[in-house]
């Protein structure tokens, strides 16, 4: 305290100088018409900038909430998308009307753990059986296919990422299903490989790869990636096809778990289950 008082006493002339300069500021910008106009103009521009800054800051703070809101909106739109609905004839004799109901539902979730550097990568999401999530459900990001649920507890689920050497998925290119598997060869977190596409097939680099109708986990038409390289194998009738994944796995933060509502009814009918 004594030091503070000594400091003030020693620098009192400077404190007085500052106070008097402030008074001068009021005099200059309050009583001189030209300086007053300049000040008003500058003050207006400063106010506009500070308002803009405040708006940007508020928007930024609100981003997480907005993301969650957007996720729920996307999930709702997903449910109502025509691709995900089956049309049932109400009456086989008197065909008057048809109604559609969604086969797939999407549950928004956040990724809380994710790996991309292992041979068998997984990610953990913050939704579990309490939200209706169970083993073998598809997971997509806003960009495309992300993985398949491996196991769940009440609150969390672990999903096998596309970047997993155990992951196999049937690709659909140019509306044509290729009954060969799309696999990850553990070389690059953005690239997957399709073996055994015949050189006679009409595909080219840049073609998009989607999910088809050969899986009950994903609705058809969900992007998997695009053809990056098409390498004709020497002395073979096949291409080595490299795909760039649609999902950016290193940035994976928000996903949707796909629930096939009739999976329990459809699966027992499959030949494999006989």
């Amino acid at each position: 305290m004594q030091r503070l008082l000594a400091f003030i006493e020693h620098n009192f002339h400077f404190i007085l100088f500052i106070i008097l300069q402030i008074i001068c500021g009021f005099l200059i910008f309050g009583l001189n018409p030209y300086q007053q106009a300049v000040f008003s103009h500058s003050a207006a521009s400063v106010t506009a900038r500070s308002n803009q800054f405040s708006t940007d800051l508020t928007s930024y703070i609100d981003l997480k909430e907005q993301n969650i809101l957007l996720q729920s909106q996307i999930s709702e739109q997903f449910k109502n998308a025509p691709n995900n609905s089956f049309r049932f004839l109400q009456d086989t004799i008197d065909v008057k009307d048809s109604s559609s109901r969604p086969l797939f539902e999407a549950i928004p979730a956040q990724v809380i753990y994710n790996t991309t550097y292992k041979a068998n990568n997984v990610f953990v999401i913050n939704k579990g059986t309490d939200n209706g999530i169970r083993k073998n459900m598809g997971v997509v990001s806003s960009e495309g296919v992300a993985g398949i649920v491996l196991r769940s507890n009440a609150k969390y689920s672990v999903a096998m990422s596309l970047l997993n050497t155990d992951m196999k998925i049937i690709p659909n290119i140019n509306d044509q299903e290729f009954f060969t598997e799309l696999v990850w060869d553990n070389s690059n977190p953005h690239t997957m490989k399709i073996m055994g596409i015949n050189k006679l097939e009409k595909i080219k680099e840049g073609d998009l790869v989607y999910t088809g109708r050969s899986s009950l986990l994903f609705p058809p038409g969900i992007p998997i990636g695009s053809i990056a390289k098409l390498i004709p194998k020497p002395n073979s009738q096949y291409f080595d096809t490299y795909i760039t994944t649609a999902t950016q796995f290193r940035k994976l933060a928000y996903v949707y778990v796909i629930i096939n509502r009739d999976e329990s009814l459809i699966t027992p009918l499959m030949p494999d289950n006989e």
Binding site: L16, Q21, C24, L27, I28, N32, V38
Partner: protein, 166 residues
Amino acid sequence: MSRLLYWISIFALQVLLFNHLDLTAFLVPQIFIILLITLPLHTKKIYQVLIAFGLGLLADLFVSTPGIHTSACLFLVMLRMTILNTQDLKEEIANRLNYTARNVGVLPFSYTVLILVFFYHLYIFWIGSIGAINTYNLLVTTLMSSVFSLTVIAILQFMSLSHSRE
């Protein structure tokens, strides 16, 4: 009494003559700042600030520029204190002398005056044209006015030196 007369005459010169030169828009000399530059060396810093504030207000009163000269005078005394701290003036302070060429020597005095006069003019013309500053005009006005003021101050100091020799 003679000091008060000196102050009044310098200020009267400023108000009645130099404020109305009207030779060119680039020439607006401020001679009266010599009063602040030559303040007695033993004057307490707080009084220097108050004197600068009062003198600035008075100067503003005659040219209808509220606050501009006051603010510039305050800057001038603070700058003066900083410069004087770098000069060895213990003896002069002990003898309660004014800061003049005769008392502190022509060289240190010229150095101080040169800086203070230039920055004073620069400051007032900068504040005066704030928001639409034309660097060329600002520098020309500052230089012309500073050179003119320095010449007058030099004459005043020369007269003072001659007077002391007599």
